[in-house]
Structures are given as structure tokens and as C-alpha cells.
């Protein structure tokens, strides 16, 4: 399948409202009622199906709280890894990973690291993905495509980290808990933490 953002005619960093608007305009244009009794109605139906699929993919991706970086963004793109970009955008992540892994260590440049990060985000391995995209940003600090991708991951992980800090256990609370348990046990005649 083609890049869903390209099908809707919006950039990958379009807002949800812009995406919805683009979808509605296209749906109106290719709606079956518009092509009723038209000899090309079957072609319009295929186009409508493509548009619906593209909208579903984007909506699902965004509802997962993260917008994957789009390797088709024009900034920083070179011809060298075009094949990998096409594989990623067509959902063929394993194949894209295989192509990337075939590149020797010495040739792994900023774009290699960025695309490796893209493959890992598609797999859901956000931690590892950040590592590679950070390297890409370090090797090519002026590249907005890489920077935007890193920011996108970090914005989606910030909320999770805050939740962890609020609900998780701190070292102090663990010690306090153990002390309380020890006291309780001693009151009952046994000993949890033997101090002698």
C-alpha cells in the first residue's frame, strides 16, 4: 500500500483536524453516489477503498499515542536508502530490516541509523528506536526529519514516564514497607529482618 499520508494528500505532521478535513473532502469527491451510473464507478470505488484504508491506518497509529516518523519526508532523504523507505511505508518492516542489516558497520551513516529507528518504532520497540534516532541526530544535527522523529517519540513517552513516577515504588517507600513488616512480624513473635 502507498503511504497513507500521501493518499490523503497531507504531510505526516498534519494535525488530526487537517487529516479529518482531507478525508472528508476526498470521501465527498469519490463517494459512490457521486459516481452513480458512471462507467468509471468501479475505479472510484477502488479509490474510495484506498482512502478509507489510509484514514484507518493513520487514525489507528495516532490513537496509539504515537505518530511514527515518515521516512518519505523530503528533508534529509537521499537516494541511497529509497528502497528501505519504500519497504517501511509498505509495511514490510522485516524486509527493510534485512536490507539495513546487510550494510557494513563502517557504512552505517546518519540515515541508516534513522531508518533503523523507523523500523524499530514500527515494531513497537520505542526504547531501542530512540537510541538509533539519537545517533542519527548526533551524526546529522541539522536534519529536521531526524529531529522531528526523536521529538515525536519523546512526546509520546513523557506521559508514560510521569505516570510511572506517580504510581510506582520509590526506594524510600520500599524501605518503609519492609520496616513496617518487620515491626508487625516482631509484634506477632517472629522476626522479618534479623538485626543480630
Amino acid at each position: 500500500m502507498k503511504d497513507p499520508y500521501q493518499i490523503l494528500g497531507v504531510p505526516p505532521n498534519a494535525t488530526d483536524a487537517e487529516i479529518k478535513k482531507a478525508y472528508r473532502e476526498l470521501a465527498k469527491k469519490y463517494h459512490p453516489d457521486t459516481y452513480r451510473d458512471n462507467p468509471l464507478a468501479d475505479l472510484a470505488e477502488e479509490r474510495m477503498k484506498e482512502i478509507n484504508e489510509a484514514y484507518d491506518i493513520i487514525t489507528k497509529q495516532r490513537s496509539e499515542g504515537f505518530t511514527p516518523p515518515d521516512p518519505d519526508s523530503s528533508s534529509g532523504r537521499t537516494g541511497e536508502y529509497n528502497q528501505v523507505r519504500i519497504l517501511i511505508n509498505n509495511g514490510m518492516h522485516e524486509e527493510a530490516d534485512a536490507v539495513l542489516n546487510s550494510v557494513s558497520q563502517s557504512e552505517r551513516n546518519a540515515e541508516w541509523n534513522y531508518l533503523k529507528g523507523c523500523v524499530l518504532t514500527r515494531r513497537g520497540w520505542y526504547y531501542d528506536a530512540q537510541k538509533y534516532i539519537e545517533i542519527a541526530c548526533y551524526l546529522d544535527p541539522n536534519n529536521t526529519e531526524y529531529r522531528n522523529a526523536l521529538n515525536a517519540i519523546r512526546q509520546s513517552t513523557v506521559g508514560y514516564s510521569r505516570v510511572s513516577l506517580n504510581r510506582g515504588c520509590s526506594p524510600c517507600s520500599i524501605c518503609t514497607g519492609l520496616l513496617c513488616m518487620d515491626c508487625l512480624c516482631e509484634c506477632c513473635g517472629s522476626d522479618c529482618i534479623n538485626c543480630s
Binding site: 459516481y35 462507467p39 475505479l43
Partner: protein
């Protein structure tokens, strides 16, 4: 290149193609209708054209930009060349009809310029025998149209359909599959638009001269005329929207023509026909 420049560049490109393919005098017969044909065919084929600066004898003081096919002259179905050859074939057939149908000074003028069209067509068919089938199809459909017109056929939809089929043949020439279906549909509805618009445009003159016009004697209103024309443009637009092409510049020009240029032409022509009817033109 901005849209208007692309549009003009396409015209100059077809002119150059004609000079090369159908003789040095043939560009004198070119009109802007063939630019639409070239734009549609270029967009749907995804054909890459290159811009070249040229010197034109009709505009000697400034170099012009013309579009050229990227491939070599062996590429028989370049949109520019199809437009050039179609212009030669259609122009020749139309002029033959004019010589037969018109009288007086118009007929004399047609006779005078006929050799240019005849030579253009001969060169076209000699250079590219692939176009003989197109020439035969056009001749067949024009004969069918002439029969309808000679039998005073009404309503206008009958002859408009035949002319639509004629242009559909030209637009879809050489294409297959989905491209053929889309260009066939575009050509058909643009053909119907042109036929109805021509009938409206000639209404006043035909009433006076007693020539065939399928609108004479039919109930007429400007609203009906405009609706008929806009329906054809709407159907053309729907077909254009199904073109999947990276050549978005050409699609933008086509949309511009369908959204602004052609509706404005329709409005003008329908108004003229309304004046002819309301002015109480009397037949001779």
C-alpha cells in the same frame, strides 16, 4: 514553470511537433483545443516533458519556452505528437466537410487552405502508419455524423454522441486498460461539450442562413443550455479525478480549465444563443 507558462509551453510544443511531423505550414492550423488533448494524455501517461527555449518567427523579439518529449523521435505516442497528428487528421476531415457544406467566399477560402491540411495529413500518415487506423475511425464517425446532420437529426444529443465518440477515439488512441477507459470518458464528454457549444454559438448564423442546427425549432432557455454544458464538464471532471499521476502540474491546469475557463466560455455562448432566440432571428 507556473501553470500559465506550462499551458503556453504546451501550445508551443505542439506547434514545434507539428512543424517536425506534419510539415512546416501545418502549425498555422493549430488551435488551443489540442492543448487540452496534450495535457490529458501527458498527465495520464505520466510522460516527462522537458522545457526548451526556442525562437518563434511569430514572436521574434523574445525567446519562448516550449515543451518537448523527453524521449527520442522514435516515441510515436508522445502526447505532443498525438496532438500534432490528430490536428492534421481532424483538420483535414473538417475542411473537407466545410468545402462540401459551405458556399460562396467561405467555400473559396476553404479551397485555398485545403492543400495545407491535405499535405499535413499525408505527411502524418506517411511518417507514422500507426495513425492510419485513427484516420479511418475518424472518417467513419464523421460519415455517421454527416448522415445525421443531413437527415436533420434531433434532438442534439444524437449527433453530440457521435462527435463525443469521435473525440473519445482520439483521446484514448494508443492507451489500454484503465488509461483507455478514463481517456475515452474524458474525450466523449468533452466532445459532447464542444458539439453542443458549437451549435449554440452558430445558432444565430444558422437561423439566418437556413443551415442545419439541431437546436432550431427546439424549446430553448439559457438555463437548459448551461445545465447541458455544465453536465458534460462535470462528467469530464469526474473522469479527470480518477487519473493517478505524478504530473500534478498538468492536472492542475486541466482542473483550472474545467472549473473556470470552460464554464466562462459556456456562459458566454449560452448568452449569445439566448440573444439570438430572444432577438427573434428570422430564417431566410
Amino acid at each position: 514553470m507556473k501553470e500559465y507558462s506550462l499551458y503556453k509551453g504546451m501550445y508551443c510544443g505542439i506547434c514545434r511537433s507539428m512543424g517536425k511531423c506534419t510539415g512546416c505550414l501545418s502549425p498555422l492550423t493549430l488551435n488551443y483545443d489540442y492543448v487540452f488533448l496534450a495535457l490529458v494524455r501527458t498527465a495520464i501517461a505520466g510522460e516527462k516533458l522537458v522545457i526548451k527555449k526556442i525562437w518563434c518567427p511569430l514572436h521574434p523579439f523574445r525567446l519562448r519556452h516550449a515543451l518537448y518529449p523527453q524521449q527520442t523521435s522514435g516515441y510515436v505516442l508522445s502526447a505532443l505528437q498525438v496532438s500534432a497528428y490528430s490536428s492534421a487528421i481532424l483538420g483535414y476531415r473538417k475542411l473537407k466537410d466545410d468545402i462540401r457544406d459551405r458556399r460562396g467566399l467561405e467555400r473559396l477560402l476553404s479551397y485555398i487552405i485545403f492543400p495545407i491540411y491535405s499535405i499535413s495529413r499525408c505527411k502524418a500518415l506517411k511518417n507514422q502508419p500507426e495513425y492510419i487506423s485513427l484516420d479511418n475511425n475518424v472518417a467513419e464517425l464523421l460519415d455517421e455524423l454527416n448522415e445525421l446532420e443531413n437527415s436533420n437529426a434531433k434532438p442534439i444529443d444524437k449527433p453530440a454522441d457521435v462527435f463525443g465518440k469521435l473525440l473519445a477515439t482520439v483521446f484514448s488512441f494508443g492507451f489500454e486498460g484503465i488509461s483507455a477507459r478514463i481517456t475515452d470518458e474524458i474525450g466523449f464528454h468533452i466532445g459532447r461539450f464542444i458539439y453542443i457549444a458549437d451549435a449554440l454559438d452558430d445558432l444565430d448564423e444558422d437561423i439566418h442562413s437556413g443551415s442545419y442546427n439541431p437546436l432550431i425549432g427546439e424549446s430553448f432557455s439559457k438555463l437548459t443550455a448551461m445545465s447541458a454544458l455544465m453536465c458534460e464538464l462535470d462528467m469530464t471532471r469526474k473522469a479527470i479525478e480518477l487519473i493517478e499521476s505524478d504530473e500534478t502540474g498538468y492536472i492542475a491546469i486541466i482542473r483550472n480549465m474545467l472549473d473556470y475557463g470552460l464554464p466562462a466560455t459556456a456562459e458566454k455562448i449560452a448568452g449569445k444563443a439566448e440573444s439570438a432566440i430572444n432577438g427573434g432571428s428570422e430564417p431566410t
